[in-house]
């Protein structure tokens, strides 16, 4: 029982970062923008949040956890917004190739995070010495009373605020896409910008807003990783390939954030599965860690056989749109 509990908690702990990233990428891709810069943006969001908290705690005699939470969240959102803005300006306004811009942004974002992560580590006195205990405690605060319920409470209520926020955002995004005019127009922009344009929808505005919102949601994934998962510290490249897993999860979720919730749990579970399979050699553990990617490839191949158009990527994904000059 305890093993199962630990496994589920571990899977959720791994999954939430990926869920934020995937939800953000889905919002972006729905507008027809394939943002391969999401991994970089998640890095940027993470480090910016950490820096916000670090300098706040450093500059205040008795830092309040709530204030630290607020400051770090704002700096995180600002940095991810900046990442999304770079991407949007280059791809939407300057019509640059989306993949090229995305990859450059990931290079930039990763370097940005590792640079500042390394720099503030130095200020803090060495690698792994950063501590924003007060702020992290706010992020890691569990739900009182409910989290005390045996098993059910441990599974459902034993997480910090960002875990619930990730799920709430995914649900809200799903509802917006399926039930509102905004969502309808967003889907139209991603499917056929020319049709959307003819129907009077401002295509570029939707692309900008979706990319910026998506980037900020993804940035929160980095913040979660730094504050909740790591407990308010930094190790260079510690974030690893989670950003790319988020991009992969979008495919697994068939561009539906509600599916991404289960998919994130699955990816999280696959990510840590090797710990829980008894008798696995160290080498075979690494093979098990390959599963999330293999699963994604299989889903990609299966969906490409065109069974259901709803499950396909947005039809204009990756293409710049501009109205024909008349």
């Amino acid at each position: 029982m305890n093993v199962l509990l630990a496994f589920i908690q571990g899977a959720i702990g791994q999954g939430i970062t990926i869920l934020f990233g995937a939800t953000g990428e889905i919002v972006t891709e729905k507008s027809g923008n394939l943002n391969l810069g999401i991994p970089g943006i998640m890095y940027m969001g993470g480090i910016a949040g950490l820096m916000g908290a670090f300098f706040y705690e450093k500059g205040t005699a008795s830092p309040s956890p709530a204030m630290g939470l607020l400051v770090s969240m704002l700096t995180c959102l600002a940095a991810s917004f900046l990442g999304g803005l770079i991407y949007s300006v280059l791809t939407v306004t300057l019509r640059a190739n989306q993949n090229v811009v995305g990859l450059a942004l990931t290079t930039f974002g990763t370097g940005f995070a590792n640079f500042f992560g390394g720099s503030i580590s130095k200020i803090a006195g060495g690698v792994g010495q950063i501590s924003v205990a007060s702020t992290a405690s706010a992020y890691r605060a569990k739900i009182p009373v409910l989290s005390g319920i045996p098993f059910v409470g441990k599974i459902l209520f034993n997480y910090g605020i960002l875990t619930y926020l990730a799920i709430i955002i995914s649900v809200i995004v799903t509802l917006v896409i399926l039930r509102t005019r905004t969502g309808l127009h967003l889907v139209a922009v991603g499917e056929s910008p020319a049709t959307a344009d003819a129907a009077g929808i401002n295509v570029n505005r939707y692309k900008y807003v979706a990319t910026l919102c998506g980037s900020m949601i993804a940035g929160l994934g980095g913040l979660y990783f730094v504050m909740d998962y790591l407990g308010g510290t930094w190790s260079n490249n510690g974030f690893g390939d989670r950003g790319w897993l988020a991009v992969a999860l979008v495919i697994l979720a068939l561009w539906n954030p509600a599916n991404a919730i289960w998919g994130a749990l699955l990816f999280g579970a696959l990510y840590i599965l090797y710990i829980y399979i008894p008798g696995l050699s160290r080498a075979n553990q690494e093979l098990v860690k390959m599963l999330p990617y293999l699963v994604t490839i299989i889903v990609l191949v299966l969906t490409s056989k065109r069974n259901k158009p709803e499950n396909q990527p947005p039809a204009s994904l990756g293409l710049s749109y501009f109205r024909e000059e008349r």
Partner: protein
């Protein structure tokens, strides 16, 4: 006093560039509550004229008066505000959305979508006019006629009082056409004013109250449908025979070169036949014209012969020499080419199929020859460069040089490059689709002369064309396609435009 006219066009002129006048001083009007048919051949300017009503183009000269008020229609939105809705030939629908979602797309309203209320209001509309529409059905599961229904309902939902339908029956079966006409009659009863663009005479006679005829961008006249006959309308549509100065020689050494038997081809979605039971023979030393309203199977016919098109059934036989016979129906384009069959094809889509737009003239010459020659690894660039130079010199291609991407050449020069390459191989069969579309007079004559040269050299030439005057003066025989079937094969020396016009509009079926 209530206005009599929903729309009045006064002296409307629209030019594209310096040379092309799409509409020349057109004046016509639409009465309230009537169905007006606008009749004309391809390229007569029908769609351009209507696009000025729907805000896609803005007239260079003239006035548009809507409900008695002069109107400036600068965008589709302006047209909507004037309650004008146009149903284009190419539907603008989001495939993965439902009919209802498409209908409300882009409309303002509360952000939360109350699909129940929206569905109810759509159903109220469909019931009133007798549409057959399931609001919750996804577009991609729909047939063409159902998609068209969505487009019409979309326009009505936005409150249009004036509807313009561009060739609405081109993609419909006779039964679906009947259904559409019932709906149009219901809309007319409800006071809507309707313009229907078409070239099918029987439909004009069946549905419209009045007919306005355009020819080569000019307004010819308007008649009450009850006073018109198929013959009188054809005469208005095709006009007097214009004699062109094309030098047509008597065919020599005529013998079968290409034989097509019982060819059937299905549309890409597999729902209908685009070619049915096509049987004919093309002879050496002869130009066989192929006439028909565009989209009646011409493209598929040529691509079937070139083996670029999957065919359902049928035989295609090629006779390189008397007595020898090669079957083509079981081969693909690359096999046909590898066998060294000298078949040349100038497709309709010059830059998207016949040429590589971003490559230069030399590289485009290589498209047919890159895998020929002795060297199995490297391409021979010298021969194509010489060929390119010859084509440029002989056909007087205007280009800054052989290294200019063909995309940058004018339409006429692009066509010269393409035709020049195709005839360079000394083809036994030469197929050309709309060889002079978009070309000026001089370039057109240059192309006619090239086709005639091939004929004299003993090739079998198949020429798909749209200008009946040209086909009658250039070809030896003319095959007419209507609805994917051969409606007749006539002798070009004795036939008339009227005869072709009737055949093209499916007249044979009525007879």
């Amino acid at each position: 006093m209530a206005q009599e006219y929903a729309i009045e066009l006064k002296n409307v002129t629209k030019r594209f560039g310096e040379k092309v006048i799409a509409n020349d001083n057109v004046s016509l009007n639409l009465r309230k509550g009537e169905i007006l048919a606008i009749l004309g051949e391809n390229g007569s300017g029908k769609t351009t004229l209507m696009n000025m009503l729907s805000g896609i183009y803005f007239p260079d000269e003239g006035q548009i008066i809507v409900n008695g008020q002069e109107a400036l229609i600068r965008s589709p939105k302006d047209a909507f505000d004037l309650k004008i809705g146009m149903i284009h030939q190419h539907f603008k629908l989001i495939e993965i959305m439902t009919a209802a979602q498409n209908i409300i797309l882009g409309l303002k309203g509360p952000n939360h979508l109350d699909m129940k209320a929206i569905r109810a209001s759509i159903e109220e509309l469909t019931n009133r006019y007798g549409f057959d529409l399931e609001p919750d059905r996804k577009i991609y599961t729909m047939s063409v006629s159902q998609k068209q229904t969505v487009e019409i309902v979309k326009v009505l939902y936005r409150g249009a009082d004036i509807l313009i339908l561009d060739e609405p029956t081109a993609v419909l079966t006779p039964q679906e056409t009947e259904k559409l006409f019932d709906v149009l009659r219901n809309m007319k009863k409800a006071g809507k004013s309707i313009i229907i663009i078409t070239h099918k005479l029987n439909e004009v006679l069946e549905i419209s109250d009045r007919v306005s005829v355009l020819r080569k961008g000019r307004y010819i006249g308007t008649v009450d449908t009850c006073d018109a006959t198929a013959e009188s309308l054809t005469e208005m549509m095709v006009g007097e025979k214009v004699t062109l100065d094309i030098d047509r020689t008597e065919p020599v050494d005529v013998r079968p070169c290409l034989e097509v038997k019982g060819l059937n081809v299905k549309s890409a979605d597999g729902t209908r036949n685009v070619l049915s039971d096509i049987t004919f023979t093309a002879n050496t030393g002869e130009i066989l014209g192929i006439a028909g309203i565009s989209g009646n199977g011409q493209k598929e016919l040529l691509e079937s012969i070139a083996r670029l098109q999957e065919m359902e059934s049928g035989e295609i036989k090629f006779y390189p020499e008397p007595g020898s016979c090669i079957t083509l129906e079981d081969k693909k384009a690359d096999e046909v080419l590898q066998m060294g069959i000298r078949m040349a094809f100038v497709p309709e889509d010059r830059l998207g199929m016949g040429l590589v737009a971003s490559m230069d003239i030399t590289d485009n010459m290589m498209l047919r020859s890159y895998n020929k020659g002795d060297n199995p690894v490297f391409t021979d660039r010298k021969t194509p460069r010489e060929l390119a130079q010859r084509v440029v010199d002989k056909l007087e291609v205007v280009t800054p040089g052989l290294t200019t991407p063909v995309r940058r050449l004018s339409g006429g020069n692009v066509q010269k490059v393409l035709v020049g390459r195709e005839i360079a191989s000394g083809p036994k069969v030469l197929m050309v689709a709309y060889p002079v579309r978009g070309l000026d007079i001089n370039s057109s004559y240059a192309i006619y002369n090239l086709l005639n040269d091939q004929k004299k050299k003993g090739s079998a030439v198949l020429c798909v064309g749209e200008d009946l005057d040209v086909l009658l003066d250039l070809c030896d025989r003319i095959l007419v396609l209507a609805g994917g079937r051969i409606s007749g094969i006539v002798d070009a020396r004795t036939s008339t435009k009227e005869e072709l016009g009737i055949l093209m509009t499916g007249g044979k079926e009525e007879a």
